[in-house]
């Protein structure tokens, strides 16, 4: 008989099932974006590593994303390009496979124009919907740096939209 009150990083067993159902597809998609060949395995391994930990994880979502990122980059370490890919991207967290859930070509182009460093932070913040704190945990950088990257990405996006050199503030 399964113990429903079993404690997991997300709460009881039902909460864990709910979190898994929501996060697993997102993590698989995230691993694919880093060019992982075995994205499902990486996402599952991230969950196992999280559950295996004896110490309490403060932000399990950030921990999972960070683990998937590390495992994906480790898997494709021999390859030179370790930047976030924008190919075949679908906005995660949305069920189904309708065409409107696929990021259109224009959005992809806009993001592609950003520097890879800013793009990664922007992706996690806007598309994955993670908080600044979570992104800082994932990337292993201070929150202030994450904010700076996001604001610079915003400035670059504004530049793209206004190539004639219109005046706008950085932040």
């Amino acid at each position: 008989m399964e113990d429903r009150q079993l404690e997991t990083p997300f709460g009881d067993l039902d909460a864990f099932h709910g979190a898994f159902a929501e996060l697993y597809p997102r993590l698989v998609s995230y691993a694919r974006r880093y060019g992982a060949t075995f994205a499902e395995d990486i996402a599952q391994e991230a969950f196992v590593i999280l559950m295996q930990r004896e110490e309490r994880v403060e932000h399990p979502t950030a921990f999972l994303y960070g683990t998937v990122r590390t495992l994906s980059l480790t898997e494709r370490r021999p390859m030179k390009n370790q930047n976030l890919s924008l190919e075949a991207v679908t906005e995660p967290g949305l069920a189904g496979g309708a065409d409107d859930q696929v990021l259109n070509q224009e959005v992809r182009e806009r993001m592609r124009m950003l520097s890879p460093t800013f793009r990664e932070a922007l992706w996690l913040f806007v598309v994955e919907g993670l908080s600044i704190r979570e992104i800082a945990d994932i990337l292993g950088i201070p929150e202030a740096t994450v904010k700076t990257r996001i604001h610079r990405a915003k400035a670059q996006l504004k530049d793209q939209l206004n190539p004639s050199g219109g005046v706008h503030v950085l932040v």
């Binding site: 399964e2 997991t8 997300f10 709460g11 039902d14 909460a15 864990f16 099932h17 709910g18 979190a19 898994f20 159902a21 929501e22 697993y24 597809p25 599952q44 969950f47 196992v48 590593i49 999280l50 559950m51 295996q52 004896e54 403060e58 932000h59 399990p60 979502t61 950030a62 906005e91 967290g93 949305l94 069920a95 990021l103 259109n104 224009e106 959005v107 806009r110 993001m111 922007l122 913040f125 806007v126 598309v127 919907g129 993670l130 908080s131 600044i132 704190r133 979570e134 996001i150 990405a153 915003k154 996006l157 504004k158 939209l161």
Partner: protein
């Protein structure tokens, strides 16, 4: 079914606003309402399998040695080091003692040598003084004395017959 992450729950309004603004810039539109993903039988089964795998790994993984265990493992080494240290200290004390003893002996030898040298100098000085005294005494003596020893002999009163021959007569006699 609900699960929550504190980092997500308490996101500042400023960040939410920034996200909306960025979505606008990217042409993504408004932030979509989170759709609660349905927990299918397959996903729940996979989640349970992963949870069990984590439990299995936690049971079977090699435990990191605790401080007590590490201390116990290091005890022989510490004992050996302590023994070695004690032996070293003893050897040092012994060497210091021997060095002090040798130094004392050397000082004693130096003292004896100095005493001997002083005695020798004193004797030499006394000898020189005695020689000087002898010379003075020798000068003070009369110089008539023959330079060779004369043994007085009584002349014979008469000739002892004809039993001798005068072999040679000294001129002037």
């Amino acid at each position: 079914m609900s699960w929550s992450d504190p980092a997500r729950r308490f996101e500042p309004a400023e960040d939410v606003e920034l996200r909306a603004e960025l979505r606008e810039l990217l042409g993504l539109g408004a932030v979509p309402q989170r759709v609660v993903a349905p927990v299918t039988e397959e996903l729940a089964s996979l989640a349970d399998d992963l949870r069990k795998e984590a439990q299995r790994r936690r049971r079977t993984e090699r435990r990191r040695p605790s401080w007590g265990l590490m201390a116990a493992a290091a005890l022989p080494l510490l004992a050996a080091l302590a023994g070695l240290g004690t032996w070293g200290v003893q050897q040092k004390q012994r060497a210091d003692g021997l060095a002090a003893h040798a130094q004392r002996q050397e000082a004693e030898l130096d003292r004896i040598a100095a005493a001997n040298a002083a005695e020798l100098a004193r004797e030499r000085k006394a000898k020189e003084e005695a020689q000087q005294q002898l010379q003075l005494v020798a000068r003070a003596l009369p110089k008539k004395s023959l330079p060779y020893l004369v043994i007085p002999v009584d002349k014979p009163l008469r000739m002892q017959g004809e039993d001798y021959q005068r072999v040679k007569e000294k001129p002037g006699q």
